[in-house]
């Protein structure tokens, strides 16, 4: 048997162990990226083989939690894809402005750059006070960084440029204060944000949300999990609610695509149509017996 094939067995054993021992479900993650990340985590761990890491994580929770944190390392930046944020400002916020109160879910918020970008947009459009933002991730380490809102000062030049391209109306430096090598997000932007641990692969829905951001998360999932997540989003969104995906993600191949209209096909902004016809029955989720293994 070739080494690549042996490694594939190790990957599946490890995924199974993380699920059965710790409840973290990577079974429906697309494998090419997962393998790369596992190899990267293995190199950091000091073990030689994934099977040695498997042995260690089964018996040592600390090893497992370090691995889980490393597996979901995501790279994000403030106002990534400025034209997308322009579209949010022009096409979504005027609609949200008609609500006295609305909820937003940033799903897979990682280290928080995106939720703060959105918070700035809402603030500049005079909508922040009416918004309740939920920012969720399953990576506790990333979530803590998001809550702290402290970023390397050296990144701020890039972020400022993106902010301006995104149609920023103020001075970006008003939204953080510089402290040695760090930029600390203005606490006023945090008041209406709730950071919470939530795993898209296993956890449930939020209710009556008007806007969901889930950008560059679905690319890591297989079709089964993509469909499961879209099902949860569809149940979470109120009628007319918006779903924003990453630039290279689309609903085209997913089961519930028909319940959405693409209001900006380039920026991947979708709006849930008002319900028609019989109620959708939900497909079985990871916690129920019908979930494919």
């Amino acid at each position: 048997m070739k080494n690549d094939e042996i490694e594939r067995i190790e990957v599946e054993l490890l995924v199974d162990a993380l699920h059965r021992r710790y409840g973290y479900d990577f079974r429906h993650y697309a494998r090419a990226s997962l393998r790369r990340r596992l190899r990267h985590a293995l190199a950091k761990s000091g073990y030689k083989r994934l099977s040695e890491l498997l042995d260690a994580l089964l018996w040592d929770e600390n090893v497992a939690h370090t691995l889980i944190a490393n597996l979901s390392v995501t790279v994000t930046e403030m106002f990534r894809d400025p034209s997308f944020y322009q579209a949010v400002r022009k096409k979504i916020l005027p609609y949200l402005g008609t609500y006295p109160f609305f909820k937003v879910w940033v799903a897979g918020c990682a280290t928080g750059e995106e939720v703060y970008s959105l918070a700035i947009l809402l603030y500049e459009e005079g909508l922040y006070e009416r918004a309740k933002l939920f920012a969720t991730d399953f990576n506790e380490t990333a979530l803590k960084q998001a809550k702290d809102g402290i970023y390397p000062l050296k990144d701020m030049r890039q972020h400022t440029s993106s902010y301006q391209k995104a149609g920023g109306q103020g001075s970006f430096s008003d939204y953080y204060h510089a402290d040695y090598q760090s930029a600390i997000i203005n606490p006023a932007l945090k008041t209406n944000i709730t950071f919470a641990n939530h795993n898209l692969a296993t956890d449930g829905i939020f209710s009556d949300v008007q806007l969901i951001f889930c950008r560059n998360v679905l690319i890591y999932f297989d079709r089964v999990l993509q469909n499961w997540v879209l099902n949860n989003f569809t149940q979470s969104l109120g009628n007319g609610g918006f779903l924003c995906l990453g630039n290279k993600e689309s609903l085209d191949a997913l089961e519930r695509r028909g319940e959405y209209a693409a209001i900006d096909a380039v920026e991947r902004i979708y709006q849930k149509r008002p319900a028609t016809g019989p109620l959708q029955t939900s497909t079985p989720g990871p916690k129920s017996a019908g979930w494919p293994a």
Binding site: K2, R31, A32, S33, R36, V75, I219, R223, K248, E249
Partner: protein, 203 residues
């Protein structure tokens, strides 16, 4: 042509071609893609490093330079013969076991996203000895480890002759870690890939 006679590895029966290009890579890449017929019998996958401000592979799509079809690779799209796929700007491009594409926004590799190594390594895990890797002009060493991975699995390693490259550093970096099967001028690489196409492995 002499180089085709010097080694007949082009007849080994390959199933996919991956190409990495960086600074100075657009001209040799165009020359290679123009040589391929519309019904080329392997999928061709390209990672080209671009400056964030550059328009990107889109210039190829618009130019109608080639007989073969060109497109940006999409998430979960199946790889088909007769198509050249480009990695989207700012995403890594990978190949899954079922021979479909995956995208990722994982950290840059060799200061690059998309990274040539990421594509080459993931494609070599899937195609093994059936993969052809081509490294063209560039100013960093992305692609060297990827080409090594391809060769280690029995695939074919092709490098642009550094003397013909606008930026010889990348081909040189590849040649430093790989005993290339072919070191060629861009026109010769085009001819080689055509020959490989005539002997492609039907899968």
């Amino acid at each position: 042509m002499n180089f085709l006679e010097s080694s007949n590895r082009w007849s080994d029966g390959y199933a996919a071609v991956v190409i990495g290009a960086s600074a100075g890579g657009t001209a040799p890449l165009s020359a290679i893609l123009q040589a391929l017929p519309a019904n080329y019998s392997l999928p061709v996958i390209v990672v080209q490093h671009l400056h964030p401000q550059q328009e990107g592979p889109a210039i190829f799509y618009k130019s109608k330079c080639c007989q073969i079809n060109l497109k940006e690779a999409a998430e979960k799209e199946a790889l088909l013969a007769g198509w050249v796929y480009f990695a989207p700007p700012n995403y890594h491009l990978l190949v899954e076991d079922d021979r479909s594409f995956a995208l990722s926004v994982d950290p840059k590799v060799n200061y690059s996203r998309p990274s040539i190594d990421v594509l080459f390594e993931s494609a070599s895990e899937v195609y093994g000895a059936l993969l052809v890797g081509v490294v063209l002009s560039g100013a960093n060493d992305d692609g060297a480890n990827g080409l090594k991975a391809i060769q280690e699995r029995g695939g074919l390693a092709v490098v642009q002759d550094p003397a013909s490259a606008e930026m010889p550093y990348m081909p040189q970096a590849a040649l430093a870690v790989v005993q290339a099967d072919y070191t060629l001028l861009p026109e010769q690489i085009g001819a080689l890939l055509c020959k490989i196409g005539e002997h492609a492995r039907k899968v």
